[in-house]
C-alpha cells in the first residue's frame, strides 16, 4: 500500500435508545460513510465488525450482511473498537485489502434495565465474590479518586449506537485524516502488578510511537468518567473542561464499539481544523485492554 492509512469517510448515530431499529441505523451509517468517502460498496473488499453477540442476541459474524459484508473479506473483532481499528490498519498495510469498511454497533440501553454482564467474571474466584464489571470499575474509580481527588466522579451512561468508518490509502486524498500510529497495552482481569492506574497503560501503549503528538485533540473511551479523565491526563491540555478533550465514551456507552464514536468525532474535528488527535480506547472492566491511535492531518 502506498501512502498511509487514512479515514476516507465516517458516519455515526448514537442516541439514548434506538434499539428498535438498530439494523437500519447500522445500514444508514454504512451508506453515509461510503457517501462521505465517495466510494461505493463495490470498492470495499474487507469489512471489519465490532459488536457483541450477547447485546445483539444474534451471532454477529453470521449477520455481517447488515454492515454490507456479503461477498467481502470479513473480520469480526468483538473485543474493542481499538483492536478493530488497528486490525483494519494492518489489513490495508499488509495488502490483504485496499479499502476497508469498519462498522461497529451495540444496543447497550438494554443494560440500563438489567445488567447481564455479571456473567463476564471468572466463575470460580470472582463471581462468587460478586464481581461484575460495574463493581470492578467502581473499585478502580474509588482507588483513583483516593489518590487523585480532583478527578470527576465515576459514572457511565448506556446508549445505543452505530458507527462506520471507511479506510484506505491516503494517496490521492490529501485532506484525509491519516492514522499515523497505533499501540497497545493490556493486563489481566485483575492487573498482574496490582496497579489499576490507566495512565500507566496509556503511556505504555504510546511508548513506541514514532513521534509523540504535540497538543492533540484527545478522545477517550473507558469504563467510566473517572478512569477516562485519568487516562486523558497523558496530555496536559486534555482536562475535563478544556477544549482539547472531546466527549468521552462513558457519556454514551454502547458496547465494545463505543470508541469508534470517539474516532468519528476526532475525524470530524481534524477534518475541519487539521492538526493531531489521539484516540484512547480502554476496553474491559477496568479498561485494561488499551489501544491508542494517533491521527494526523485533515484540512490545513
Amino acid at each position: 500500500m502506498k501512502g498511509e492509512v487514512a479515514i476516507l469517510g465516517a458516519a455515526a448515530r448514537v442516541g439514548a435508545s434506538v434499539a428498535a431499529d438498530l439494523e437500519s441505523e447500522v445500514r444508514s451509517v454504512v451508506l453515509d460513510s461510503l457517501a462521505s468517502s465517495k466510494l461505493d460498496l463495490d470498492d470495499i473488499d474487507a469489512v471489519v465488525t465490532v459488536a457483541s453477540d450477547t447485546l445483539d442476541g444474534v451471532m454477529v459474524p453470521i449477520r455481517a450482511e447488515v454492515a454490507g459484508a456479503f461477498g467481502k473479506m470479513p473480520l469480526n473483532i468483538p473485543s474493542s473498537a481499538g483492536h478493530a481499528l488497528a486490525a483494519a490498519v494492518v489489513l490495508l498495510e499488509s495488502g490483504q485489502a485496499r479499502h476497508v469498511l469498519l462498522a461497529g454497533w451495540g444496543a447497550a440501553s438494554k443494560l440500563a434495565h438489567h445488567d447481564s454482564r455479571s456473567i463476564q467474571a471468572d466463575p470460580f474466584h470472582d463471581r462468587p465474590a460478586g464481581a461484575v464489571p460495574a463493581q470492578v470499575a467502581a473499585l478502580q474509580a474509588s482507588e483513583l479518586l483516593d489518590e487523585f481527588p480532583d478527578l470527576p466522579p465515576h459514572g457511565i451512561t448506556f446508549a445505543d449506537g452505530a458507527v462506520a468508518l471507511v479506510l484506505g490509502s491516503s494517496e490521492g486524498h490529501d485532506a484525509a485524516v491519516r492514522i499515523a500510529d497505533a499501540g497497545t497495552s493490556s493486563r489481566g482481569y485483575y492487573p498482574e502488578d496490582d496497579k489499576v492506574d490507566p495512565l500507566r497503560w496509556v503511556n505504555e501503549a504510546m511508548a513506541k510511537w514514532r513521534q509523540q503528538p504535540a497538543k492533540p485533540q484527545v478522545a477517550v473511551s473507558g469504563p467510566g468518567r473517572t478512569a477516562e479523565a485519568r487516562a486523558a491526563t497523558a496530555f496536559t491540555d486534555a482536562t475535563p473542561s478544556g477544549p482539547a478533550l472531546l466527549p468521552s465514551g462513558s457519556e454514551a456507552w454502547f458496547g465494545p464499539a463505543t470508541a469508534l464514536f470517539q474516532a468519528f468525532q476526532l475525524h470530524q474535528q481534524l477534518s475541519r481544523t487539521g492538526g493531531e488527535g489521539v484516540l484512547i480506547d480502554m476496553a474491559g472492566p477496568m479498561g485494561q485492554h488499551v489501544t491508542c491511535v494517533r491521527l494526523a492531518g485533515g484540512a490545513a
Binding site: 469489512v47 457483541s52 453477540d53 450477547t54 442476541g57 444474534v58 451471532m59 454477529v60 459474524p61 453470521i62 449477520r63 455481517a64 450482511e65 459484508a69 456479503f70 461477498g71 467481502k72 473479506m73 470479513p74 473480520l75 469480526n76 473483532i77 468483538p78 473485543s79 474493542s80 483492536h83 478493530a84 488497528a86 486490525a87 490498519v89 494492518v90 489489513l91 498495510e93 499488509s94 495488502g95 490483504q96 447481564s116 454482564r117 456473567i119 463476564q120 467474571a121 471468572d122 466463575p123 470460580f124 497505533a182 497497545t184 497495552s185 493490556s186 493486563r187 489481566g188 482481569y189 485483575y190 498482574e192 505504555e204 474491559g284 472492566p285 485494561q288 485492554h289
Partner: protein, 389 residues
C-alpha cells in the same frame, strides 16, 4: 513487506471432556507449549490474539479477559477474533497481517475449548438463527448439512454408502493422529448403520463435540529456531456469505448447495499465492468439515476435482493419505472439532506436514504447498489459506 511465517505450534489432545482443566489452564499450557516449540523467548513477543467463538459453553461472556494474565504476549492483546468455527483461521490471518505490515514481529494466536460444561449446545448455537423465521423450524447445524447432502445426492446420483466414503477415509486417518478424539476406523456400512439423525445424515457423519486447545506463533522469517523449513503464509481469501441459507439454494444462486462462495474465497487465495492449477500445485489439504458432505462440497469447490465426483473418487482411493493429493490426513474435524481451536488445528496440521514433523500422519508431499479452510456457520462464510515451504 515482511513475509509472515509459522515459528511454533502446539495442540492439545482432543477429548469430549477435559475435567482437570479450566479454560484458563488450557490457555496457559498451550500458549507456552507453542512458544517453546518455536525456540523464542516468551518475553520476546509483541502481540497476542485470541481465537474465541461464542463462549456459552464456558459460561463466561466476553471471556477475552479471563486467563490472560502472564501469557506470552499478553501485554499487547491485539484482539479477540470471533467467526464461529472459522475463528482460528481468521485469527491466524489477522496475526499474519500484523507481521506482514511490520507492526509486530511475533504474534501468538491461541484458542481453547471446554465443550462439555453445558448440557447441550442448543443455547450456544441458537444465536446462529433468525429469531422470527428460522427458530420456528429445526434449522440447526445437523439439519442444515442434511439439506446439502440431499441436494448433492439428487444432483449427482450419489448413494448414502458413497457419501460415507469421506468419513471412512477420515476415521482411518484419525487412527494415526495422536491428538484425535476419535481414533477408531469405521467402515462404510457402520456409517450407514449408525443412528439416523436427519436424513441422510447419520451420527457417524458428524464431528464429535470436542474440548481442546491450540496455539500458533507467527513471526517474520528467520526469527524462530533454526533447523526447520520456513513455512510461510502464501495467500488468504475469504467470503462472507448470506445469513439466510435459503437465498443461496435456488437455480442461478445456489452456493449453499454447490460451494460457489467457497470457490470465490479460494480464487482470492490462489491468486495471491500464485496457484493456477490447484490439482497439480497443491500437495495436501486440511479442510474444515464438521460433516462429511461439507468436505465433499469443499473438495469440489476448491477445484480439486470436478463437481459431483468427490465421493466416488474418495471411494476409489483418491484423496487418501497415500494418494497424490491427501485431504485431511489428520482425520480432520471428523475426528475432533473443538470450535475455537479447529481453524488453528488446520494450520498446525498443514505446518507439520510441511516441516516433515507429522509423525505417523506424515504424507508424501508432491508439492510443498498445503491448503487450509475454515467455515463460519452452516457453510455460510469461508476462510481459505495457502501455506508454502
Amino acid at each position: 513487506m515482511t513475509v509472515p511465517c509459522v515459528l511454533g505450534v502446539a495442540q492439545f489432545p482432543m477429548r469430549t471432556r477435559l475435567p482437570d482443566y479450566t479454560y484458563a489452564d488450557l490457555l496457559g499450557r498451550i500458549a507456552y507449549q507453542a512458544v517453546e516449540d518455536s525456540g523464542v523467548d516468551p518475553g520476546d513477543l509483541d502481540g497476542l490474539i485470541l481465537s474465541l467463538p461464542p463462549t456459552t459453553t464456558l459460561g463466561v461472556d466476553e471471556a477475552q479477559y479471563w486467563g490472560l494474565a502472564h501469557l506470552p504476549g499478553s501485554r499487547h492483546v491485539l484482539g479477540r477474533v470471533h467467526a464461529a468455527a472459522a475463528s482460528g483461521l481468521q485469527a491466524f490471518r489477522l496475526a499474519c497481517a500484523w507481521v506482514s505490515a511490520g507492526r509486530a514481529r511475533r504474534v501468538l494466536v491461541v484458542g481453547a475449548d471446554l465443550a462439555d460444561e453445558v448440557a447441550n449446545l442448543a443455547g450456544a448455537l441458537g444465536q446462529l438463527h433468525d429469531p422470527f423465521t428460522e427458530r420456528q423450524v429445526v434449522r440447526n447445524a445437523i439439519t442444515s448439512a442434511a439439506v446439502q447432502a440431499s441436494a448433492y445426492m439428487a444432483a449427482h446420483k450419489v448413494t448414502s454408502l458413497e457419501l460415507a466414503s469421506v468419513v471412512v477415509k477420515n476415521r482411518g486417518n484419525g487412527v494415526r493422529n495422536q491428538y484425535a478424539q476419535l481414533r477408531q476406523a469405521v467402515t462404510g456400512q457402520e456409517v450407514a448403520d449408525s443412528p439416523l439423525l436427519s436424513w441422510p445424515i447419520r451420527r457417524l457423519d458428524c464431528a464429535p463435540r470436542s474440548s481442546g486447545a491450540a496455539a500458533i506463533l507467527v513471526g517474520a522469517e528467520g526469527t524462530g529456531r533454526g533447523g526447520r523449513r520456513t513455512v510461510r503464509a502464501a495467500g488468504f481469501g475469504a467470503f462472507a456469505g448470506a445469513r439466510m441459507i435459503g437465498s443461496r439454494m435456488v437455480p442461478g444462486a445456489q452456493s449453499y448447495l454447490d460451494g460457489a462462495d467457497l470457490a470465490a474465497a479460494a480464487a482470492q487465495a490462489y491468486a495471491v499465492a500464485g496457484i493456477r492449477d490447484p490439482r497439480t500445485e497443491i500437495g495436501c489439504a486440511e479442510l474444515y468439515a464438521a460433516f462429511g458432505i461439507i468436505e465433499l462440497l469443499s473438495i469440489e469447490a476448491l477445484g480439486l476435482c470436478p463437481k459431483g465426483e468427490a465421493a466416488r473418487r474418495i471411494a476409489d482411493g483418491e484423496f487418501h493419505a497415500d494418494a497424490a493429493l491427501p485431504v485431511n490426513p489428520s482425520g480432520g474435524a471428523t475426528c475432533g472439532n473443538p470450535l475455537a481451536s479447529t481453524g488453528l488445528i488446520r494450520v498446525i496440521e498443514a505446518t507439520l506436514q510441511l516441516w516433515g514433523e507429522a509423525g505417523e500422519k506424515q504424507v508424501e508431499l508432491r508439492q510443498p504447498t498445503v491448503l487450509v479452510t475454515a467455515i463460519a456457520g452452516a457453510f455460510q462464510s469461508h476462510e481459505v489459506g495457502v501455506l508454502a515451504a
